[in-house]
């Protein structure tokens, strides 16, 4: 080992010198959203400020204030890279609004990479002026994609449980920026475990309205609700398969919680695990072929992976006295989980193949992590004094944020899938 170390370090070795760069800068990439030409429309925010709000929503970028810009270019011809380099800007978005037809705005926009001195995106979009927020989200998604290589998630949604006071429980869905919140269901008994269908048209959750936990599926178009028929047995922890065919859930026969599968087409229920310990918190792999679940079969809660076709079960977490409620990242190779040690609970990530568990949150009662569809952001529930609230972070650890709290406690965030 030591010989190798010297050989690599040595400038005398035959091959060309190689210098490895692995760390990267601590500072965030800086973006500038230049006011679009003709973007001022009566009664609404400007497109550039809507895009800026989106792009900086999760703290992934610093943005240059409009009054610090040296110019407001609207086209490639009057765009000077050195101006932006001087301001240490990495990416610039410019655009034009054609408002000659007041019922149909035509917007073209460009994204510049200042470091590489090139245009990385040319876009055109048109739409009704009263859909400006939606249009801005689409432009933001495209710009974000061109800069990061990741899907933009600005038109995704969040479901969560609000507990405004004792014996009051509500399920809300909102836009991912917290706006446009809508009440889905309201109860005096606990509500739990919201889970989105892959098409975002339905939400499954647990309600105690009949005196025991029971899964309901609510149609977001019609508001219709139905429960899974388990003949009065407690059932909980629903998760919709990404292929929309199944709901994996937990049912307890004579006090033994196990994982079951509910076939949404023929309404059949089949059993997946059979163990006298606790098996719960199922989570689907992106290809709908595997499930993660929490089991205390070893004596403490740990994460296991089940291959549905073969029924083979493999233990995933080995270190720590409490590992639970895991979710797959979109790559199917990494997971996020709640990792507890000596009564402190953090959000952690782990690669399925490595032993190492990497805690990423800092507060001590963190739970219910949900991953953005692009895999870059995690929102989770935590608590301060007696109030529960939602917090988030990017997986590179460079950005942390909290979501505004209304009255009461917020918990169990569920990030919607992307819908194209």
């Amino acid at each position: 080992m030591f010989f190798l170390f010297f050989l690599i370090l040595s400038p005398l070795s035959e091959s060309k010198l190689k210098i490895e760069i692995t760390q990267g800068s601590e500072t965030l990439p800086k973006i500038a959203i230049v006011p679009f030409r003709n973007e001022i429309l009566s009664g609404s925010k400007s497109i550039s400020s809507l895009i800026e709000a989106n792009m900086t929503l999760f703290g992934e970028f610093n943005s240059l204030k409009k009054n610090e810009m040296l110019s407001y270019p609207h086209s490639e011809e009057n765009f000077y890279y050195r101006d932006w380099k001087l301001l240490e800007v990495d990416f610039v978005v410019i655009g034009n609004v054609d408002n000659s037809n007041l019922n149909n705005l035509d917007i073209n926009y460009l994204v510049f990479d200042v470091g590489l001195r090139k245009i990385i995106l040319k876009g055109d979009i048109s739409g009704n002026p009263n859909e400006l927020e939606q249009i801005s989200k689409i432009i933001s998604n495209r710009a974000y994609q061109s800069i990061t290589g990741l899907d933009g998630v600005f038109n995704t949604k969040l479901a969560y449980i609000l507990n405004p006071s004792k014996n009051s429980y509500k399920i809300y869905i909102s836009d991912i920026d917290g706006s446009d919140e809508q009440l889905l269901f309201n109860s005096s008994s606990p509500l739990m475990s919201p889970s989105w269908s892959a098409d975002r048209k339905k939400l499954a959750y647990v309600s105690f309205e009949k005196g025991y936990p029971e899964i309901y599926i609510q149609d977001l178009f019609t508001g219709n609700r139905s429960s899974i028929d388990t003949l009065g047995m407690s059932n909980s922890a629903p998760v919709w398969s990404p292929n929309s065919k199944y709901i994996a859930f937990v049912m307890s026969m004579s006090g033994n919680p196990d994982i079951y599968l509910y076939n949404l087409r023929n309404k059949k229920i089949s059993r997946l695990t059979r163990h006298y310990g606790i098996d719960t918190e199922p989570a689907w792999s992106p290809n709908s072929k595997k499930l993660l679940f929490t089991s205390n079969r070893s004596g403490s809660p740990q994460i296991y992976e089940l291959i549905i076709s073969s029924g083979r079960i493999k233990r995933i977490t080995l270190d720590g006295d409490y590992n639970a409620r895991a979710r797959y990242f979109p790559n199917g190779k990494d997971i996020v989980l709640v990792h507890g040690n000596n009564g402190i609970f953090h959000i952690a990530t782990k690669n399925l193949k490595s032993r190492f568990i990497n805690s990423i949150s800092k507060t001590s009662l963190d739970e219910s992590p949900t991953i953005s569809p692009n895999g870059n952001i995690i929102i989770y529930a935590t608590k301060k004094k007696t109030q529960g609230f939602l917090a988030g972070l990017t997986i590179n650890g460079k950005s942390k944020f909290t979501l505004p709290v209304q009255e009461g406690s917020v918990r169990e965030p569920a990030w919607s899938p992307l819908v194209n």
Partner: protein, 154 residues
Amino acid sequence: MKKKSAVFILVTFFITSCTTTVSDKVTSLDYASAESDIYVSAKKLEINLSDKIYFNFDKASLTSDSKELISEYINFAKNAKAIRLEGHCDERGTREYNLALGEKRAIEVKNYLIIKGVSSSKIKVISYGEEKPEKLRSDESSWKKNRRVEISLF
């Protein structure tokens, strides 16, 4: 009856398609019959005993103190029409796991009652996990009070 209301909303979404499949090789399930809810209409019996059994963190096993307390219930339990055991957890750890743990705690009490001769058919078990804490603070003394099974006789 508790008041419930569903608020119907309309959200416009687009449709997505999925192509992956799940191989469906699993055994089918035999249903157990649902337990009846005798206690809902019955009046709760007032007994001059502590109605709460406490547990250690992430444990469902009964301590010797708990067993002693449950033993004092046996005669009342044998005469009661129905027994409701409600399992709870402290806030630490995950919600769905705690829901299962609360059930395990209540089942543990149920099994002890059965051993002592109480008929299993009249015992109803339910878990609220960490959803209905008795104390809201995040400290050891609150957590201690929240890790409990509540016994109600009818």
